[in-house]
């Protein structure tokens, strides 16, 4: 599968009168794993929605492999960009197999029925997420981590070159957060899928992403490798928080430690 690039040029968007994105531009290289970070209401989810064309921008445009997405047919676009909202709701009683099969929707037409390619895509998606044994189980009986894997499997079955995820780790325990991020990394490495996700947890974002995009006030404040973006200055500007950024002893990536009003444990850190 080929990797795709995604560019946003000078996006402005909002809900009704409220402007949430203000002249935001991003450039996502093919095959990258990108994390968008920022404080609440900085426009990061809106950016993701505009990138997936759930929201039409008031001005600016989104380019997929160099061509604008706004004229593309809905199913055609859905075969190239997958989107997973923050906490999707599974219909009551639906089985894992069936939910994952829904990912084939854009590949099916009015008269084209279920094909061998569909079956293979679903089977591979289940295998990749380790869900083959759970195929017959009802989604609402699964644990939070397993459920998130089911949704990712659905997006995998969609077989898109680009996958956009809105906070895929919220409401998950830390072990399941790591599990989900590992899975996305694997997907990115083996299939070359371009992954863009909104993440709340800065340190996990820095650890897993090739590229960090830090947003503030509807604009892109900084974008680049975690080392260039996750700095004490960025954290101060984007989150309004005093922090210390050190090197993660395990991965060598930057790691942010908040200081808070009382400067952490004691005066020692402040004076150093």
């Amino acid at each position: 599968m080929n990797a795709s690039s995604l560019q946003a040029e000078a996006l402005t968007a909002g809900y009704g009168e409220r402007r949430v994105l203000d002249n935001a531009s991003v450039d996502i290289a093919p095959g990258q794993l990108t994390a968008i970070v920022g404080a609440n209401a900085c426009g990061k989810s809106t950016l993701l929605r505009v990138l997936s064309r759930l929201i039409a921008p008031a001005s600016g445009r989104v380019l997929l492999d160099g061509s604008a997405i706004d004229g593309m047919a809905a199913r055609k676009l859905a075969r190239r960009i997958g989107f997973l909202p923050q906490s999707p709701m599974a219909p009551e009683g639906i089985s894992v197999l069936e939910l994952v099969s829904r990912g084939r929707h854009p590949h099916q037409g009015l008269f084209r029925r279920w094909s061998a390619a569909d079956e293979a895509a679903v089977a591979d998606a289940l295998a990749a997420t380790g869900l083959l044994a759970l195929a017959e189980r009802a989604v609402d009986e699964l644990s939070g981590g397993q459920r998130q894997r089911v949704w990712i499997a659905m997006a995998l079955a969609q077989q898109t070159n680009v996958l956009l995820l809105d906070e895929p780790t919220t409401f998950l325990d830390i072990n399941h957060q790591i599990e989900v991020l590992d899975l996305l990394t694997e997907l990115n490495h083996t299939r070359g899928t371009t992954v863009v996700m909104v993440l709340h947890e800065l340190n996990l974002a820095a650890r897993y992403a090739d590229t960090l995009i830090a947003m503030a006030g509807g604009r892109v404040y900084a974008a680049g490798t975690p080392e260039t973006v996750l700095t004490e200055a960025t954290v101060r500007e984007v989150f309004g928080l005093e922090s210390r950024v050190i090197e993660d002893p395990v991965t060598g990536k930057p790691m942010m430690i908040p200081l808070g009003r009382h400067g952490g444990v004691g005066s020692a850190t402040r004076s150093s």
Partner: protein, 347 residues
């Protein structure tokens, strides 16, 4: 990243085939139930007509006595029950799926009441009859649907507000119907009950024709959208991500299901709770595999047919079908409220 082995793929295919078979089995079972139901209602009423005689009447042989009881009385009734039930079932489940809420069915949010008020207005105030009444009913149903939508719009439409506004409008429309009925030159209880709770008494075969056309056209339209409706059950955003065109799908589904419900209401009145009940019952019977549209249509037809038969012959007195479904449906609505309370409370 792991790929599935051929053996695993085969296993999944087998699983899926099993589900398809079960689904087809359920559909066949429902259809068989309907067939048996129709035969029973044709053969067994106040008097028993042998099936052979029923068959002869159906192919057009003139049998003294039976031609009247079966051909004039029982057949139109059975046909009206089937068609109206299927229309209510389809329209109801499409609405419930679109709004992802079992309570958002056209009979609870006032669309049936609107169609009924329209039909009564055409009959009483304009002294119209026949297809013109159906058209007024459809227009009124669509008008009410539009009104509910506009009134519940405030930074988007949410289920709770839409349902509550629908309940409020329904209360008003029901009193419109009651008022119009009282203006009618002769207050006939049976006729009034048709427009208040729904009834198939005195229905004629000619009324079935527009209804079957509506069912074929609008039902076909809905069925052609069933993949999109299925995707919509995952939520608007995910569905859009899967390539569903939300705006077009919403408009098509709303128009088609309001049309179905309104056409049926124009013939039988707003048979209480059938649109509301059919979808959830179909989901319970057929499991989650595949679209609920066909099962719900069959369940709706069966529900109306069986309730009408029970209302005629199985209860101590003769009741119109809407009374029977009204008494049946209310406990289920209560169950739904209570169950929802015990879960997260997504209402």
């Amino acid at each position: 990243m792991n790929h599935a082995t051929p053996a695993q793929r085969a296993e999944l295919s087998a699983l899926r085939r099993g589900r398809f078979r079960r689904r087809r089995g359920t559909l066949a079972l429902l259809a068989a139930g309907l067939l048996v139901g129709v035969l029973v209602t044709l053969a067994l009423g106040q008097s028993y007509t042998p099936l052979s005689t029923v068959a002869r009447v159906l192919v057009g042989v003139d049998v003294p006595g039976a031609s009247f009881t079966v051909g004039e009385l029982r057949l139109p009734r059975a046909v009206a029950c089937l068609l109206a039930g299927a229309c209510f079932g389809l329209g109801g489940v499409a609405f419930q799926t679109l709004l992802r809420n079992p309570l958002a069915s056209p009979d609870i949010i006032g669309i049936s009441s609107g169609a009924s008020a329209g039909a009564v207005f055409a009959i009483v105030a304009l002294a119209w009859s026949g297809p013109a009444v159906a058209l007024v009913a459809v227009a009124a149903g669509l008008g009410v649907a539009l009104l509910i939508y506009l009134l519940s719009w405030r930074d988007g439409v949410t289920g709770a507000r839409l349902i509550l506004i629908g309940i409020g409008l329904a209360a008003m429309l029901q009193s419109v119907t009651a008022y119009l009925l009282m203006q009618a030159p002769s207050w006939s209880l049976q006729e009034a009950l048709r427009w208040i709770t729904g009834s198939v008494n005195g229905v004629r075969l000619t009324q079935a024709l527009p209804l079957s056309l509506a069912l074929a056209l609008l039902g076909g339209l809905l069925l052609s959208r069933r993949a999109d409706l299925d995707a919509l059950r995952l939520g608007d955003e995910l569905a859009a991500g899967l390539g569903v065109r939300l705006g077009v799908t919403r408009i098509v589904v709303v128009l088609a299901s309001v049309g179905l419900v309104a056409f049926a209401t124009a013939v039988t009145g707003p048979i209480a709770f059938v649109a509301f009940l059919s979808g959830p019952i179909a989901a319970r019977i057929s499991g989650q595999s595949g679209s609920l549209l066909l099962p719900a249509a069959l369940v709706g037809a069966l529900l109306v047919l069986a309730s009408d038969y029970a209302g005629q012959f199985l209860l101590p007195a003769r009741y119109p079908v809407g009374i029977v479904t009204g008494v049946l449906g209310a406990p289920y609505l209560v169950y739904l409220i209570v169950r929802d309370n015990q879960r997260k409370g997504a209402l």
